[in-house]
C-alpha cells in the first residue's frame, strides 16, 4: 500500500510504541516482552487464539490495564500513571469495545458530544454540529435523538466509532468490534472502519475478520500465549506465514 512507501523521515515518531512490555495476572504471564511500534496512518491487525492476550495488549495502550514492566509511549510520551495527565492521554487514544458501551442514559447525540464538551471544553453548539456531521459520516444521523438501546448493534457500534472520532484521537484501538454483532451487521461496521483506514487514521484492530485483515491491514501481528509470535504483511501472513503456530492457527479457522 502507498502508506507504507511514505518516506520514513527521522522526525516521524511512532504514534504508539511498546517496549519490552510485560504483564502478569498473579501467576499468569499474559504479556511477554511485547515490542510493537505503530506509525502514523498505519493499520495494525492483531490476531491469535482466544486467551492469547490480544485484549490485554490493546487495553494496556490506554492504560485500562496497568503493566508490570516495560514502557508504552504515545507520540513519544510515556503514558502517565494517573490523574489529569493520564486522562489527557486517554483523550488522544480512542477505544471501541466489543460490547459498544454507549452511555445507556444518554441520547445518541449526547453520547458523541459528552467527550468534546466535558473533556475538551468545546462549546455545546459547536460540539452538536460536529457530532451531527460525524453521525452522518457513520450513517446514523437520523437516530440522533434516540437512546442507545433503541438502536441495532451495528448502529450502536458505528455511534461508538463516532464518539471516538469526536475526540480527534491520534489513534483508535478496536477490540473485536464486530464479535457481538449479528452477521448481517458486521459489514456496515467494517465498512466504516475501512473508510477510516483509507482516510489515514492510525488503527490497532483485534479481530477475527480475516478478510478485513487481508484487505485493510498494513501489518498483521500474530499472538499466542501472551507473546508476539509473528509480525508480517497481510499477503505474506495469509499465504505463507513464517511460523508453524501461525500456520496451525490459520488452518484451524479455515476448517470452521
Amino acid at each position: 500500500m502507498e502508506k507504507q512507501s511514505k518516506p520514513n523521515t527521522p522526525e516521524q515518531t511512532p504514534v504508539i510504541e511498546l517496549r519490552h512490555v510485560d504483564k502478569h495476572y498473579g501467576q499468569l504471564h499474559v504479556l511477554k516482552d511485547i515490542n510493537l511500534s505503530v506509525k502514523k496512518g498505519e493499520v495494525v491487525v492483531i490476531i491469535g487464539p482466544s486467551g492469547s492476550g490480544k485484549s490485554t495488549l490493546c487495553r494496556t495502550i490506554n492504560r485500562m490495564e496497568t503493566i508490570n514492566s516495560g514502557e508504552i509511549l504515545i507520540d513519544g510520551t510515556a503514558i502517565p500513571q494517573e490523574g489529569k495527565e493520564l486522562a489527557r492521554l486517554r483523550a488522544q487514544v480512542g477505544m471501541v469495545f466489543q460490547s459498544f458501551n454507549l452511555f445507556a442514559h444518554k441520547t445518541i447525540l449526547d453520547n458523541v458530544t459528552l467527550g468534546p464538551t466535558d473533556v475538551l471544553h468545546v462549546p455545546k453548539k459547536e460540539a452538536r454540529e460536529e457530532a451531527i456531521k460525524l453521525l452522518k459520516r457513520v450513517g446514523v444521523d437520523t437516530q440522533a435523538a434516540k437512546l442507545p438501546a433503541q438502536l441495532s448493534g451495528g448502529q450502536q457500534q458505528r455511534v461508538a466509532i463516532a464518539r471516538s472520532l469526536a475526540m480527534h484521537p491520534k489513534a483508535i484501538l478496536f477490540d473485536e468490534p464486530t464479535s457481538a454483532l449479528d452477521p448481517e451487521m458486521i459489514g456496515e461496521v467494517l465498512d466504516v472502519m475501512t473508510e477510516l483506514a483509507k482516510e489515514g487514521m492510525t488503527m490497532v484492530v483485534v479481530t477475527h475478520e480475516m478478510n478485513f485483515a487481508r484487505r485493510v491491514a498494513d501489518r498483521v501481528i500474530f499472538m499466542d500465549g501472551g507473546a508476539i509470535i509473528e509480525e508480517n504483511t497481510p499477503e505474506e501472513f495469509f499465504t505463507h506465514p513464517n511460523t508453524q503456530r501461525a500456520q496451525d492457527f490459520l488452518n484451524s479457522i479455515k476448517n470452521h
Partner: protein
C-alpha cells in the same frame, strides 16, 4: 403495552396448570372466609363495647377536626420531606466513602453505615432530645425529630446507592475513562445517573420508612399527624375512631409513595422494552 409487562412472578414461575389453579382457588376461598370472619368479629366487638357509638365518630363531621388533622399531615410531610432530602445527601456521602480508594475512608464509612443501620431511630431521637441540650444546644422541636429520622435512614440509603453503582456495567466506566473524562466526572455524569435509575423503587421504600419514623415526633411534641391525633384523643376521649382514621391517612400517604415507585419502575421498563423492540427492527 400493559400485557407486555412481565411481572416478577411470571418471570420466575411457569404458568399454573389446572391442578395448581384449583388449589390456588381453594386457598383463596379459605383465606377470604377467614378474613371475613375476623372482620365481622372485630366489628361486632366494637359494637358490643360501644366503639361504634356516634359520639366517637361525630367529631369527624366538624371542620375544625379536619383542619387540625390537616395541620398534622402538613407537619408530618414537612418532617418527612426534609429528613428525606437530608438522608439522601448523607447517604450519598457515605456511599462515596464506601467506594473510596482509601482504606481508611472506606473503614470509617463502613462503620458509620453499620452504626446508623443498627441503632433504632428512637435512640437517635433521645440523643437529640436529651443529650444534645446538655451541651447547651437546644434545637427547635422540628429538628429534634427531623435529624434523628434522617440519620437513622442514611446508612440504608448509602447501601442502596452503592448497590445501584455496582449494578452499572463496568464497560460504562471504561468507555467514559477512554474518552479522557476525569474519575469524578465519570462517576457524576455516567455512573451515578444510571445507578439512580436502578434503585428508585428501593429509595422510595426507604422514604416510606422515613414517613413511619416521623411518628416519633410525639416524643419531642412536634405537631405531626400522630401528635395531633393524640391531642384529639385526649380532648374527645375517642381512642379507636381517631386511630383508625389516622392509620388510613398514613396508609394513603405511603400508598401514594409506593405508586410513585411503581410508576418510576414501570416507566424505566417501558423505555427499555420499547427500546428492545425498536432495536430488533433495526429502523
Amino acid at each position: 403495552m400493559s400485557n407486555a409487562h412481565v411481572s416478577v412472578r411470571d418471570a420466575l414461575y411457569e404458568a399454573p396448570g389446572p391442578k395448581t389453579r384449583r388449589r390456588t382457588a381453594i386457598g383463596t376461598g379459605i383465606a377470604l372466609a377467614a378474613i371475613a370472619f375476623l372482620a365481622v368479629g372485630v366489628v361486632r366487638q366494637f359494637y358490643i363495647t360501644g366503639q361504634l357509638d356516634s359520639k366517637y365518630w361525630s367529631i369527624f363531621t366538624k371542620s375544625t377536626t379536619w383542619k387540625f388533622l390537616g395541620q398534622g399531615i402538613a407537619g408530618t410531610l414537612e418532617v418527612a420531606l426534609t429528613a428525606g432530602v437530608i438522608t439522601f445527601g448523607l447517604g450519598f456521602l457515605l456511599m462515596l466513602g464506601r467506594i473510596s480508594d482509601s482504606k481508611v475512608v472506606r473503614g470509617i464509612a463502613t462503620a458509620l453505615v453499620e452504626f446508623t443501620r443498627g441503632v433504632p431511630t428512637l435512640l437517635f431521637l433521645y440523643f437529640f432530645f436529651l443529650v444534645v441540650p446538655q451541651f447547651g444546644l437546644t434545637l427547635p422541636s422540628f429538628w429534634k425529630i427531623t435529624l434523628p429520622v434522617a440519620i437513622s435512614a442514611c446508612g440504608v440509603v448509602a447501601e442502596v446507592f452503592r448497590s445501584g453503582v455496582k449494578a452499572v456495567p463496568k464497560g460504562q466506566r471504561e468507555a467514559a475513562l477512554s474518552i479522557g473524562m476525569s474519575k469524578s466526572h465519570v462517576f457524576l455524569k455516567v455512573v451515578f445517573p444510571q445507578a439512580i435509575r436502578y434503585v428508585i423503587p428501593a429509595l422510595l421504600s426507604e422514604l416510606v420508612i422515613v414517613v413511619k419514623d416521623t411518628t416519633f415526633a410525639y416524643v419531642v411534641t412536634f405537631p405531626d399527624l400522630m401528635q395531633n391525633a393524640k391531642v384529639l384523643i385526649s380532648n374527645y376521649d375517642a381512642l379507636l375512631s381517631v386511630y383508625l382514621v389516622v392509620a388510613v391517612i398514613y396508609i394513603l400517604i405511603n400508598y401514594l409513595l409506593n405508586r410513585a415507585s411503581d410508576f418510576a419502575a414501570r416507566r424505566r421498563n417501558r423505555t427499555l422494552m420499547a427500546a428492545q423492540q425498536n432495536g430488533n427492527k433495526g429502523v
